[in-house]
């Protein structure tokens, strides 16, 4: 048994905490026509746990779901009909790029880059998954500096 399993809070407790946090954000996202039901929120929390484990990581905080909702809920390309699915894929993308970055990117920085990229390609998750971390970073930098989005 890994000593971490003895010491760290169990996933179930963490998920309950995360569920409350996510549902509380409905108040904000509802302004943009986006709401998560308890079942959907629970599924997303579980997806986040699974993506975390898949990336070989251990969480000591609330996880990225709340930050992703906060960062993406005002995107014009996010709709209620694909809200849960998009958040699920964003969670996967977050942990994928997090592992790729070798700890060189802060969570907020990565989420901001993902949002910029997502909007630049009109909400295309295929583009997001098809890009590299370098491309993502370059795009965010050029976009921030007022340049045009590079063609992939």
């Amino acid at each position: 048994m890994d000593p971490l399993d003895i010491i760290l809070p169990d996933a179930e407790r963490r998920q309950l905490q995360a569920l409350g946090d996510v549902l509380a954000l409905n108040e904000l996202s509802a302004q943009f026509g986006l709401v998560l039901g308890e079942t959907e929120a629970l599924a997303l929390v579980a997806r986040g746990e699974s993506a975390l484990r898949g990336a070989g990581r251990v969480s000591f905080g609330e996880g990225p779901l709340r930050a992703l909702i906060f960062a993406f809920c005002d995107s014009p390309y996010l709709e209620q009909k694909n809200y849960e699915q998009t958040l699920a894929e964003l969670l996967d993308a977050f942990y994928y790029f997090k592992s790729e970055s070798g700890e060189s990117l802060a969570d907020d920085e990565l989420i901001s880059m993902m949002r910029t990229f997502y909007d630049a390609y009109e909400g295309s998750l295929d583009h997001l998954f098809g890009t590299s971390l370098e491309e993502l970073a370059r795009h965010a930098r050029e976009n921030r500096d007022g340049g045009a989005a590079p063609a992939l």
């Binding site: 890994d2 000593p3 070989g56 990581r57 251990v58 905080g61 609330e62 997090k98 700890e103």
Partner: protein, 276 residues
């Protein structure tokens, strides 16, 4: 942590698991400090290393306390105390390292010289706050006897202490004679990761036991081994102390009681047929 250690953790009695769980806030705080508020997740291996470092510090502060007494103490407090102890040990080891460097013998042994250089890098890389159990350098020079099972700065401190003692012994002989002996006994020794203490001890103790001048290492060849084995093998275990006292005196070497075990161990190994 080894597989056996994992199993023993799994079978820990509830009281001990609960005690270990008291480290949780400190571990989370360590993770946050390490992540520098940039993230709220870390690779599992990195998190495990942070925890190992904390357990190392806890063990350091716990010392030889019996388990029952330990369970009455707060592990997070022990962790902080152990962290301070490792910082103090770093300073002690740096002083010892400076003394070792100043007294180092002249030798073409690559692993001897490279290991000393690497220990210098250890001090530049060692992180007592987050990875106190790690030994961030490559040490290829083997010392005589059993390697300690310790970690981090405790290992380095112990290694330097033993290195200094072996070096003091080797310094009793002129570099030319010592190097000539080693070249004759172990061709190509300078390029090999071999300890210098044991062959030199074997030859010097063999000469002395055979009634010759222990300093005349330059005259020794493998042809002398049978004579040395016979002379050293004739010693009874209860004569070791007296033999070594006379041997040290002949070499002009001062050995503290706590340092005696290095030489006793070398004698025992020779009697068990392990020359070097």
């Amino acid at each position: 942590m080894s597989g056996a250690a994992h199993e023993s953790l799994a079978s820990l009695p509830q009281a001990q698991r609960a005690w270990l769980q008291k480290l949780r806030p400190a571990l989370l705080a360590q993770a946050r400090l390490y992540a520098n508020a940039d993230t709220d997740s870390l690779p599992a291996e990195q998190m495990a290393e942070l925890l190992q470092s904390m357990l190392f510090c806890v063990a350091l502060a716990a010392g030889e306390r019996p388990l029952e007494q330990l369970l009455g103490l707060d592990p997070a407090t022990l962790f902080k105390a152990g962290q301070q102890q490792s910082l103090a040990l770093v300073e002690d080891a740096k002083e010892l390292y400076a003394r070792v460097l100043a007294a180092r013998i002249e030798t073409p042994s690559y692993s001897f010289n490279d290991t000393l250089r690497e220990i210098g890098l250890f001090f530049a890389r060692y992180d007592a706050y987050f990875f106190a159990h790690q030994i961030p350098c490559m040490m290829t020079y083997p010392l005589a006897g059993r390697a300690p099972g310790s970690q981090g700065i405790v290992f380095i401190g112990d290694y330097l202490w033993r290195f200094a003692l072996e070096n003091r012994f080797l310094a009793c002989f002129g570099a030319a004679r010592r190097n000539a002996l080693l070249a004759r006994l172990i061709p190509g020794y300078a390029e090999l990761p071999l300890g210098l203490f044991e062959p030199v001890f074997y030859a010097a103790a063999g000469l002395f036991a055979a009634g010759q001048n222990a300093h005349r290492l330059g005259d020794v060849s493998p042809g002398d081994f049978a004579r040395f084995d016979a002379a050293l093998g004739a010693l009874h275990a209860d004569e070791f102390g007296d033999f070594l006292s006379r041997f040290y005196a002949a070499l002009g070497l001062e050995v503290l009681p706590s340092e005696q075990r290095l030489f006793l161990g070398a004698l025992r190994r020779i009697q068990n047929g392990i020359r070097f």
